[in-house]
């Protein structure tokens, strides 16, 4: 047990399942197997709760093997408070997506699930990778399955959308690749040719020269190279235009994964790499991202307001929400950072849920035109209630998860820059405007043409669909009512990051340490239990 490579298991399990599915004879039986597989990998990922120690900021469950030493690349993975929840979010969303796409995907079912599971591995990998090149590999690799998911199972303009998505993101990341290489050489010992390492922990240690005035100082350039890649992935205004297209064309599960997890890879990159590795540059140029984040919030909200297509509206709302995340990250204080991490999860849950819901209604009416709806509330009460709850979470009403994230982010950004905070706060208003306006037009008022259509009456959510939404709804309230349950797992890491921004370093704990600790705690418990029993005996 002590040697169990838990993280590798979590990361590569989906890939193995993908291979198994690929070997299956036909499409039949794929869905159940996929569901079981996804639940299984979620279950395994829950083991993290057992072996992960929230008390220490150190990197945990670390696995390190040399991979391509000639290029200084190693297989080095680990988890800490920053990636902990993102991993669980990813593994949690997979079963939801599989169950949610039960009817949405009607052709090439097997191929679809293979792509989906391969994508899962890529995404998980990029969250645990602690070797820059390894990270880059997963980061880029995740494009390929998504490229196929959008391109094959997407809508009418899917090819345009998927090419745009692929080229945009790749264009961003190649510069990061060069930056990574530069870092590897910067970190190498001057003696002899070749690379030293892409090990992130080592790269944290190296202090790159930074001259406040100079845009040309290495740290600044690297900072921008990395930021370009991540900003496009996030996507941050003004490089967001690939997102609405991709979302509108993507099939429902594609949208869910894209919004739910893939966008987080960008923001995660900022927190994991940009801030700790280029602290001065981040301090010095952070205002740019504060500003763009704030603008993105308002811009996304305003543009979302006037969308005629529900899905596109949700897509632009993503731009707005990710603007919050960027704002929180570059507020550069504990509140903002915590809020940002929290908002990543919120966005994954609420926007994912929104896309699922949009997909459910699309399956019924084959239209996403807001104008054609109206009066749905009378026809689909359960659907309406669930949609409303998700809407509340999306516009950050208190007691839902959205509020916690937004509150902390706004608090942090306001402490960082009153102006930006003030601009961002208006997003609270516009958010309510576009969501509620859409809600009113779709669910209230007289019945629209699609709703009153006698030929195909609409049926309320099936048991399966309710089952899909249930866990999301539960999370919405759980995360909203007791945020501490979730924050406590990332607290130490965030504090550690914020307290030593300028000299950030991470300790390392392996699986063995974790197992030892677990054993110890169990022992303790048993001991105390014994003690209490004996006391009880004495008392008696």
């Amino acid at each position: 047990m002590a040697q169990m490579p838990l993280l590798s298991l979590i990361v590569f399990m989906p890939l193995i399942f993908a291979a198994l599915m690929a070997l299956m004879p036909g499409d039949r039986g794929v869905r159940p197997m996929a569901l079981v597989a996804s639940l299984l990998q979620f279950g395994v990922s829950l083991l993290l709760f057992k072996y992960y120690d929230a008390a220490t900021p150190a990197l945990q469950l670390v696995e390190q093997h040399s991979w391509i030493p000639e290029f200084g690349i190693s297989y080095f993975i680990g988890v800490d408070g920053i990636s902990f929840w993102l991993i669980l979010l990813t593994t949690f969303l997979l079963p939801v997506v599989v169950l949610g796409s039960w009817n949405a995907i009607d052709k090439k079912v097997k191929a679809f699930h293979v792509a989906l599971f391969a994508l899962q591995t890529a995404m998980l990998g990029s969250f645990v990778a602690m070797d820059l090149v390894l990270f880059y590999v997963f980061f880029e690799l995740s494009l390929v399955p998504m490229y196929f998911i959008v391109g094959i199972w997407g809508g009418a303009r899917r090819v345009y959308a998927t090419m745009k998505f692929f080229i945009y993101t790749m264009a961003g990341s190649v510069l990061m690749l060069l930056a990574i290489i530069y870092l590897m050489f910067a970190a190498r010992d001057t003696e002899g040719l070749g690379y030293f390492t892409a090990n992130v922990l080592e790269l944290y240690k190296l202090k790159l020269p930074f001259t406040a005035d100079g845009l040309m100082s290495p740290q600044a350039l690297l900072f921008f190279a990395f930021s370009a890649a991540f900003a496009i992935k996030v996507p941050m205004f003004p490089v967001h235009t690939w997102l609405p297209d991709a979302h509108v064309e993507a099939p429902t599960p594609g949208s869910v994964v894209l919004a739910g997890v893939m966008l987080k890879m960008g923001t995660y990159g900022f927190v994991r790499f940009v801030i700790p590795m280029f602290p001065e540059a981040a301090e010095h140029f952070g205002w740019i991202f504060l500003f763009l984040g704030a603008v993105g919030i308002v811009y996304g909200a305003l543009v979302a307001m006037v969308q005629p297509d529900i899905k596109k509206l949700v897509a632009y709302s993503s731009v707005s929400h990710m603007g919050y995340v960027m704002l929180g990250i570059f507020a550069m204080n504990t509140y903002g950072m915590t809020g940002a991490l929290y908002q990543m999860l919120n966005h994954g849950i609420s926007t994912g849920a929104l896309f699922l819901l949009v997909g459910m209604i699309y399956e019924r009416t084959h239209s996403r035109e807001i104008e054609k709806y109206g009066g749905l509330a009378k026809v689909l009460p359960i659907y309406t209630i669930i949609f409303f709850i998700v809407t509340l979470s999306s516009i950050a009403v208190p007691m839902t998860n959205g509020f916690v994230g937004e509150f902390l982010i706004l608090l942090g950004s306001f402490q960082a820059s009153q102006l930006m905070g003030a601009i961002a706060v208006t997003g609270v208003i516009f958010g309510a405007v576009y969501m509620l306006w859409m809600f009113k037009r779709v669910f209230f008022g007289e019945k629209g043409e699609l709703v009153s259509d006698e030929k195909h009456p609409l049926h309320d959510l099936s048991a399966r669909e309710i089952l899909v939404m249930a866990p999301l709804i539960v999370l919405v309230f759980w995360m909203g009512l007791v945020p501490n349950h979730f924050l406590s797992y990332s607290k130490s890491s965030i504090d550690h990051l914020m307290q030593n921004k300028d000299a950030y370093q991470l300790g390392v704990l392996t699986m063995e340490d974790a197992t030892k600790r677990v054993a110890a705690t169990i022992e303790m418990e048993t001991v105390t239990a014994k003690a209490t029993t004996t006391e009880a005996g004495v008392a008696r």
Partner: protein, 646 residues
């Protein structure tokens, strides 16, 4: 009983009611639903009585607290889910649960014919729960949670009959307008956190000692107060954000009584009173509060003059009365504000329920021009409404008189008051008396203007009458909790101003100007003026609408344009629509069509076109003529040589 238990029951009772009714939201069984909901409300009322009783007696604690769990903690920020009942929230919680219970009871009868009574009662309980959070939370965040929660419930209840686009729109308008205020509230919270590193009321106030009174406009405390006040204007329907409240009348009438008269809309006042020590340090902010309050009191009253919907009239009067409360806060008479808050809760709830009973009896008719002479059809309603009427126009010794007069007196005499505030209040009072009398007259007196064959007005059942009676009693005697000294001295037994005494210490207060400290005669004079003016305008109205109903028409025909202007609510909604909302929508369209499509995407496409251009030039060079290729080689060689040898 441990405080934790008290608070749990107090808060959870309505929540349980909500869950119970919410889970069977399709049931039509209004009796069961109503019983459960009313029971829940009653339970929390009982609990609050128990809790408040703890505060009485010798050596009683000034407050009881209960801390449940830690919501979030990082760096300086540590927010507990914890509640407190002190002398301020005690008043509030009693009013909310008490009046709330009555209104629940009223609703049982009122909603008996509705098709979704369970849903209605679920929402009502949910509202109660959120309102209690707002009141009892011991830190700004908990307050904000309730603050937005009640907003949400009001959204749900206004749009309760959502199939009607108008009603749904009204709900959305209410929520969005409130959100504008909430944004301000948030900013206020942030500034305060930046200042004190805490959001807990007690801590904030305890740290205030380190700060001195701010003179300028941009001081942090002034800023905080102004931001918070923006929140208050949203929630409590003050200029310029009051526009949602009249539309909110789209909801069921009991809702208007509970949310849009008695409880939720007073949250702004409550918040300012809670933070009164903070506001004391920002005189400019207080001046703004007072001015806005005065303006609102006047403006709403004027609009109320020319409304024809019974509920709209009451709505505008609510806005105007809230204006009085803010005026009081602004001049530093926080006690008076609380006082008026309580009395207003009584008589305005009473009048709304009364109007509900009227509408109920008139088969959903709301236009007072189609009423009249209802006195003989529904005597009890009339009687109770009558008490409400004299209470609001400030005829002693009814509740309104005491509270309003205290406000006017402070507006005149307080260090931060001014004659102008007083004058505004006075005119407002006169106007109020006029349009309230008009309402009485058009509704109950004179001869009936409805078609007696179609409409058969009838008195409502006991579940609706009991609340009316109780509230009538309260409106009649409610004022005695704050008898002014001048009156107290002449009364037998010299009753003191109990409310003032009760609140002393837990709220701040601005001292009187030296001149006014002992100017009892002055106080008498002002009292006399206001009462007589109010009475006068009431009489005028009576003469207008009862003695000679043709006179109003003649009167307005003198200046028709002005009348139309007032009738159309001073065109404020139209102004907002044309000047703010529409431009915003157009701007967004432009952003989408222009920035996204024409700038950002275009830019990327341009890159692609450049590459294509290079490609096609490369192809045109590729003529297939072998000698040209050779020529390219030669030229290339020459070029390279030239470059290398230069």
């Amino acid at each position: 009983m441990k405080p934790e238990l008290i608070f749990s029951v107090l808060l959870l009772a309505p929540l349980v009611g909500f869950l119970f009714n919410g889970l069977r939201w399709q049931s039509k069984n209004y009796m069961l639903a109503g019983a459960v909901a009313t029971g829940a409300a009653a339970v929390s009322f009982a609990m609050s009585v128990v809790a408040v009783s703890r505060l009485f007696g010798e050596g009683a604690p000034t407050s009881i607290e209960a801390n449940f769990y830690n919501w979030a903690a990082m760096d300086l920020l540590s927010i507990d889910v914890s509640f407190v009942i002190d002398r301020i929230s005690a008043l509030m919680v009693l009013v909310v649960t008490g009046v709330g219970t009555l209104i629940h009871l009223f609703s049982v009868g009122y909603m008996s014919h509705d098709e979704r009574p369970s849903k209605y009662f679920a929402y009502l309980n949910l509202f109660l729960f959120n309102m209690l959070l707002l009141i009892l939370g011991d830190n700004l965040l908990m307050m904000f949670v309730g603050w937005e929660g009640v907003g949400l419930c009001s959204y749900l209840l206004i749009g309760f009959w959502f199939s009607d686009k108008e009603k749904a729109a009204a709900g959305m308008k209410a929520f969005v307008t409130n959100r504008i205020g909430d944004a301000g509230f948030l900013l206020g919270i942030f500034v305060i956190f930046g200042l004190f590193g805490s959001l807990n009321f007690a801590e904030i106030i305890s740290k205030l000692g380190a700060f001195s009174v701010e003179t300028g406009w941009t001081g942090p405390i002034t800023l905080a107060c102004l931001f918070l006040f923006i929140g208050a204007t949203g929630k409590s329907a003050q200029v310029p954000l009051y526009v949602w409240l009249p539309d909110a009348m789209a909801g069921p009438t009991p809702v208007s009584a509970l949310i849009h008269a008695a409880t939720m809309v007073t949250a702004g006042v409550y918040m300012i009173v809670r933070l009164s020590p903070l506001f004391m340090l920002a005189p400019n902010a207080m001046a703004v509060v007072a001015t806005i309050g005065a303006v609102t009191a006047l403006m709403a009253a004027v609009i109320g003059l020319a409304q024809h919907d019974i509920k709209k009239v009451l709505a505008y009067s609510t806005v105007s009365q809230l204006g009085y409360m803010f005026l009081a806060c602004g001049v530093g008479a926080f006690g008076a504000a609380m006082f008026h808050l309580v009395t207003h809760a009584f008589f305005k709830a009473l009048m709304f329920l009364g109007s509900g009973s009227v509408i109920h009896g008139m088969h959903e008719e709301q236009d007072i021009r189609k009423m009249g002479g209802l006195k003989k059809y529904m005597p009890i309603t009339h009687a109770t409404f009558f008490i409400g009427w004299i209470a609001i126009i400030g005829i002693p010794p009814f509740a309104g008189f005491f509270s309003k007069d205290e406000i006017l007196w402070f507006a005149f005499a307080s260090e931060r008051g001014s004659h102008w505030y007083w004058l505004a209040g006075l005119i407002g009072a006169a106007t109020t008396a006029f349009y309230m009398t008009r309402l009485m007259a058009l509704t109950f007196w004179g001869k009936s203007r409805f078609d007696a064959h179609k409409v058969h007005p009838h008195e409502a059942g006991p579940s609706m009458l009991i609340p009316l009676v109780v509230l009538a009693v309260l409106s009649a005697i409610g004022g005695f909790m704050g008898i002014p000294h001048v009156i107290g001295e002449i009364l037998p037994g010299h009753p003191g101003n109990w409310l003032e005494h009760w609140l002393k210490g837990s709220i701040a207060a601005v001292p009187m100007t030296e001149a006014m400290k002992h100017a009892t005669t002055m106080e008498w004079i002002l009292m006399g003026i206001s009462v007589s003016i109010a009475g006068l305008s009431a009489v005028t109205a009576f003469s207008f609408y009862v003695l000679d109903p043709s006179r109003p028409a003649k009167f307005v025909s003198l200046f028709p344009r002005l009348h139309r202007f007032v009738e159309n609510k001073l065109m404020v909604d139209e102004f907002y629509g044309a000047q703010i909302i529409q431009p915003l929508v157009n701007a967004s369209r432009a952003l989408w069509a222009f920035v996204d499509v024409n700038i950002i995407d275009k830019a990327t496409f341009v890159v692609g076109d450049i590459v294509r251009g290079v490609g096609s030039t490369a192809r045109t060079l590729q003529t297939g003529n072998l000698q040209q290729y050779a020529l390219y080689i030669a030229l290339g060689a020459v070029a390279v040589l030239f470059y290398v040898l230069k």
